[in-house]
Symmetry: C3
Subunit: 633 residues, 3 copies
């Protein structure tokens, strides 16, 4: 596959006379994909039912005339102000009960079915009009589902739909009372109409109640997306894409992805470092102009799976952004590095957000390839360099990874609902496992727990999984490679009850968790072999082989044959050792990477990336700050 | 008195066929008291007016058949969902105006008189049915009043009742305006219907207004409790109990206790250490699996007074809990230690919460004596040990303490309303005085300010008391023993005006506070004799003897004869010295206890408890971690 | 000019028989101005339309009989409870939508036009009654506009008035859409009635929308004030005053001041140090009983400008206050120092708040010159000393400052709306510039950006100015003295769009900001000449002379001839060097002041103030803690 580059463009923001010059410069630079339209509803339909397609027709034609292909976005993330007059109750409501007002974006509640229909309708009209455009490459549906905490809404329409969803799931109210354990604290319901959303309760609500509400909320995103999928597919067979946002875990991306052709995500390494990586202050300082060395790769590997092999970076940060608590500029070279890293993880396309910095409105401090006056910003030259690099690379062919790391959205919701100790977080623990694998120079697939087979993998890691289904338990038991589950994996059944037989009921391992302890990082407990466990510790009663213990003797890692269970959250030192041990036992070829240096191995090439702000010696060679090495095979 | 042990049991959570086996195991273990029923309203009355007593009859019979006695709880802390349909306005409202929704527990507003009647009615029906049961030991009314911040409610019904309460208190609106000083900032009212609850004001509301609202809120708990007391007493003469929760200070426990026969409290040493002890991080780390060495004892000594000598631990933590920010497991031995410590403070009974861990709903991560699959958890063996210890002890007879430490609920409300400097807290300062006394190996009585006489005490300490009534002032003046008041004691009259003559108007001490200073701990001021004062400092103008001064010469502790006044908040070093000096002057026999080691002296025995996680040398002997020494006299 | 002293007095708080004695003691002490009336509405008009003037007549007569002059306050900051019955919708609403309830003060929304009329009416009635009193000195309108965050209100009346304001400003909705850039995110409106207030949006609202709302909110204060100005001027020609509160920046004080005769402010150095100075903990500890050495002076120099030369301290802290997180007492000598410092900055009057400490209501812990029992508090003697000092001084004549420091309210609103990095704050950066100037012993004028001419100044500093108007740009270009703009100065046009040509478009400097970086203080970047830049950094592309660079070579300070631009926020070391360099280049006579020692140079005298808590050596002489030196010329 030969990757291509593109950009996000807003013809509606600029006078028409600039479009031709812009298109020319895009083409001259070597970009081929132009995303547009995704926030343009008020321009396309300034009054309800009064459509203005002419400007978009013209913009597409101008771009197409320069040989550019268009990714057309449905504008449903930004319903115009008049939509509110049609649907007074369409606004999302936050957990404190405050209506989320018009005046920015993503204000709609996913449970508003009439808005969902209106959204599908505009998508259908666009599809009808542009399906046959020779310049149309693909469709983007909506924009960044879940950004700004918009999946979970406590609106009246959400409550009504939730009751319907529960009725469909449980059939009778007594089935629901049983599943939730509502006999506890006299929480039993007599009919579905009594059930409210689980916010603003006196103390914590029933976790089963919360988890069902989170599942429902995720399903509403799937439904919303499907409505547009169906509307577009009536007219167009071009690929359907959504651009997911980094570390948004409030809905099930796998399920949304099942209805689409390509997955994409929006990669803002510097904003994410501050806002979402969870990094310690020292680490943030060290990588403040480069981003976390593993955060982007994790998402690349996740969305490759969500897209069943087909994935893009839809928005790539090209300079400082406007939205993080602090917004430094990328170190020179990083825009190129980020681009080539996506390529190394087999992205089909990388699009920069945005072509030209807008001098007005919310994102006026968000850099583009051009400055507001159309002069080139510093990143322009880096994109030229990335294009030259890609030209030189030729075809990039992906390798089958030998390690699978299971990541599960439901587990994120479950442990947010019941952390049991501050800091237990399903994404965070997966991210730490991922870092430990990457330190060994390994390719990783981030995969869903219900994937068909793990047979392609020599090592499967399943940390923090909420519910260990019979099916997954069986697949792992029959899997030839090594696996390690835990901590906390399989500790609940699907109703959010403690599993019985008691966890971890892993096939092939006799073991019971007597109880769990949580404690702050300052109370970390030392391991016999070095390092500590922190945050989470399970008191294991087991007859299996004990592979790691606390200094006080209690088992922490146990294993029989291929199967391992880890009963605590190890710190970096200990996790590195444990995962290295497993990798070696699994027969993987490892290469210890220097801190901040990362490798991606493809069938066609080997890539080395230096995320450090200074040169690093690797394999006896100096790699400059933000440097990239590409070795054809 | 010979103490007994028990447990909390929820037959409604388990299939009936398990009850007999459970009862058998309880009896075999040696437990004698079983609390049940306190959250079972939806099972007892699944539809309004349709009662299902059969299961409870059966459960009591099964327990009784094994020789167990039942403490029957009224289920009024958890009104079922249908109750909301009867009383749409019964929900409490938080200080931001948010209604506290159904879906957990304690959702009712104490001011809702119709709900209060319904609660009394179910209590009366239970009393009628079970008064004559041979297995009934006593009654628990409701559960943990005030837990989850539920005493103070800003609902419409609370506002209406508050106006009635004010009218009864003041008679005329001008009396209220005078008492509150409403001429200030033109806050004068013309009639009672204009008065709102003191939340959501632009800046702080009038402290007199707030304090009256806090008094009213406390009175509503007293009233709510009385309604059930009256309903039960019509049918039953068994003891009435409430289980207070640790460091809940929003209502007056003395007044609620006046209507009951036995006081009890729910002791969760590890959760409280993190959540409510106010301990510094180092201290928390040191005692994270043991709890604060004085926190439980303070409550024991308080509830002995609330119960006029009769008191229990109704819920004793047996393992990790689910509700603190971090939830470690008790160090081996601590469950036994906590049990025996209660015994040493003269508890009649200690009940473990709970018999078996529930695998569902909010408290699924709360340990029990049994694990969810009915196997024994680690604490089971410790309870066996505690029972053997108690067996060996025989009768435990309480001694009269020689020190009284005055603790007052109204002062808590007053200084929350007007801290004047961050960190001034009535409970916290009493707790620090308590620690200093316990360091000297002294028995302490925690007492109410209006207790009849202090004549039994050689030393009386009165820190941070809001209002020094004439009666208390006179009692202290005529008291033969030593006393020390302050800081801040008596600085306001009952209307929350600065007292005149100016504070501290302590009989026998000529002294005026010119002004008060508050400052952060980092600005602590050194004393001439060592240590510092922090947080609170009073500029004293006095002709009394000066016993402690700042290094800059200003008086801090003054005294004439038996009477002392302390004009600042000393740090641990200084407070230890000051209190040791007083104790010696009072002729008390003191024994300096090592840190984390505590003594309780009874007529019949002497007890030593080692809260440390390592062995400690005491009186030339080693006491192991979590060790207990019991010496019969 | 010969300054005078006064106090704030509340006859309505005290029995009438105390008034005469109070008046006598005030006069004996040497006070001449007594402010009264400003919170007395409920006493003046206890029922709507029923006026009680007699007590105020009597109080004024009693004071006047002792030779005292009265500053009469309109009571409009505290509308009585009955006002709410007339105007149910008059209450302000906070940004979360919560109504700000009656029960303290300042509860009214500035946009409520009927309340505005009622406020003007009571002011007019007072003016009519007292205009001819021989004892009337002047009028204070309302009290501390904006205190307790009361300028910006999200009420329904504010929304309605905002729409009117927008219609008047923009005429057509399409003009507004263009000015705000509403094409972005489909935020376009079709008519003004669709526009809501910019709170509770999903993510940040459009900054142009917010800034217009902030301008509107400020204008409502101006309008509210004007209504009373007009009502009073119909009857009285005595001076009109408002007492501004420290570091309140939510409305434009210059514009309110344009309608008044004298500016005054309320100076609480200790409360402000903790609450509003932004000082680091070490600095706070060092000056905890003295206040920040520059905070008061900055306000003095600002309000001298707001009052066009005529200004007072209306409320001077005389002891501990009640409202800061911590409330220490002033170091002995500081009350005198603060008084004389105001005099040195050319205050006409300094009034102490308050005469006697009130023993009731919200401010019962706020010190007065007298204690609640009418005995003298410690500050009484300091006021005697200050009066003696002033007597000795004779006439104090102000000098023309040689440095102007531009401070702009709109910039405060703009950068709150769009900080781009945590910590960017228009007041804070001006305050740091002010400190650097004062360290050089310079007199400073704090001035508005639209002042007529800068010709009187040898040095003009313009940091962080939102919008560089053509007029200001031209004035600076033609100005003979030196000037330095930046950082961030002129980076937006008045619509909150990035200026084009790109910033900084300073006449005479060829320079473009390619992009901006923000970073936390821990990521400060070192300068070649020492010190660092922090928080804010602009990547300058320039052909001008480079005067300061980062260690990595990038320009930070550039200049051509008289004109300089600073592209970052320097730390204290660097800012001191830069400003000292400019001052020297501008030919100013500088004298390096020791830390905590400050100078004020008048035509008639030179004043030296030692804010330190210990003696300091200056010019070879020891100045005691809290010491003042006054040298007549």
């Amino acid at each position: 596959m030969k990757p291509v580059l593109g950009t996000c463009y807003y013809p509606e923001h600029w006078p028409e006379h600039k479009w031709r010059e812009d298109a020319k410069r895009m083409a001259e630079l070597g970009l081929t994909l132009i995303r547009l339209g995704e926030f343009s509803w008020s321009t396309l339909e300034p009054e309800p039912g009064q459509y203005e397609w002419a400007w978009l027709d013209a913009a597409i034609d101008v771009l197409g005339a320069e040989g550019l292909q268009v990714v057309l976005g449905t504008p449903t993330a930004t319903p115009p102000r008049w939509m509110l007059d049609r649907h007074l109750d369409m606004l999302a409501v936050d957990e404190n009960g405050a209506v989320r007002k018009f005046g920015s974006r993503r204000q709609y509640c996913f449970s508003h079915t009439a808005y969902r229909q209106d959204a599908a309708a505009i998508a259908g009209l666009m599809a009808e009009r542009y399906a046959d455009s020779p310049y149309l490459h693909s469709w983007q549906i909506d924009n960044e589902y879940g950004c700004h905490d918009t999946v979970v809404s406590y609106s009246a329409v959400a409550q009504a739909e939730f009751r319907v969803w529960l009725q469909q799931k449980y059939g009778t109210i007594s089935a629901l009372n049983d599943a939730w354990g509502n006999v506890f604290w006299s929480m039993e319901y007599q009919h579905f109409e009594q059930i409210e959303l689980p916010n603003l309760t006196v103390t914590e609500p029933n976790p089963s109640h919360v988890l069902d509400f989170r599942r429902f909320s995720s399903d509403q995103v799937v439904n919303f997306n499907q409505a547009q999928v169906n509307a577009i597919r009536q007219h167009s067979d071009k690929p359907l894409i959504h651009n997911y946002m980094g570390r948004i875990t409030e809905f099930d991306h796998y399920k949304v992805g099942d209805d689409l052709d390509i997955a994409s995500w929006d990669s803002y390494p510097l904003g994410f470092l501050v806002d979402r990586s969870g990094a310690e202050p020292d680490w943030q300082r060290r990588f403040e102009r480069q981003g976390d060395p593993d955060f982007q790769a994790l998402h690349h590997d996740l969305y490759r799976h969500v897209g069943r092999g087909r994935w893009w970076v839809m928005e790539q940060q090209p300079g400082p952004v406007n939205w993080a608590p602090f917004n430094p500029a990328p170190l020179p070279g990083m825009v190129r590095l980020w681009t080539l890293e996506a390529v190394a993880h087999h992205a089909e396309a990388v699009c920069y957000f945005r072509w030209r910095q807008a001098p007005f409105a919310q994102e006026q401090m968000h850099a583009g390839l051009l400055r507001p006056d159309s002069s080139e910003s510093l990143s322009f030259k880096e994109v030229e360099q990335a294009l030259a690099d890609i030209q030189q690379l030729g075809d990039v062919q992906v390798s089958q990874a030998e390690v699978a790391l299971v990541f599960d959205y439901e587990s994120c919701w479950a442990w947010e609902t019941q952390p049991q100790g501050q800091g237990f977080d399903a994404f965070a623990i997966v991210f730490e496992f991922y870092k430990a694998l990457r330190r060994l120079g390994l390719n990783v697939d981030v995969v869903r727990p219900d994937m068909e087979s793990f047979d392609d993998y020599k090592l499967v890691l399943v940390p923090g999984l909420f519910c260990l289904t019979e099916s997954l338990n069986a697949k792992l038991a029959s899997h030839k490679g090594l696996n390690m589950l835990g901590p906390r994996t399989g500790s609940r059944d699907e109703n959010f009850h403690i599993s019985q037989p008691l966890p971890p009921a892993v096939e092939g391992l006799e073991c019971v968790v007597d109880h769990v302890e949580t404690f702050p990082p300052t109370s970390a407990r030392p391991l016999s072999n070095g390092g500590n466990v922190h945050t989470w510790y399970e008191c294991l009663q087991t007859s299996a082989n004990v592979l790691e213990t606390l200094q006080t003797g209690e088992p922490v890692l146990i294993g029989n044959g291929n199967t391992h269970y880890l009963g605590a959250w190890p710190d970096t030192e200990a996790l590195n050792r444990i995962i290295q041990g497993l990798a070696e036992k699994a027969g993987l070829v490892i290469e210890l990477m220097p801190e901040g240096v990362r490798k991606r191995d493809c069938l066609s090439h080997e890539f080395i990336f230096n995320y450090n702000a200074q040169a690093v010696s690797f394999r006896g060679e100096q790699i400059e700050a933000a440097g990239v090495r590409m070795f054809p095979k």
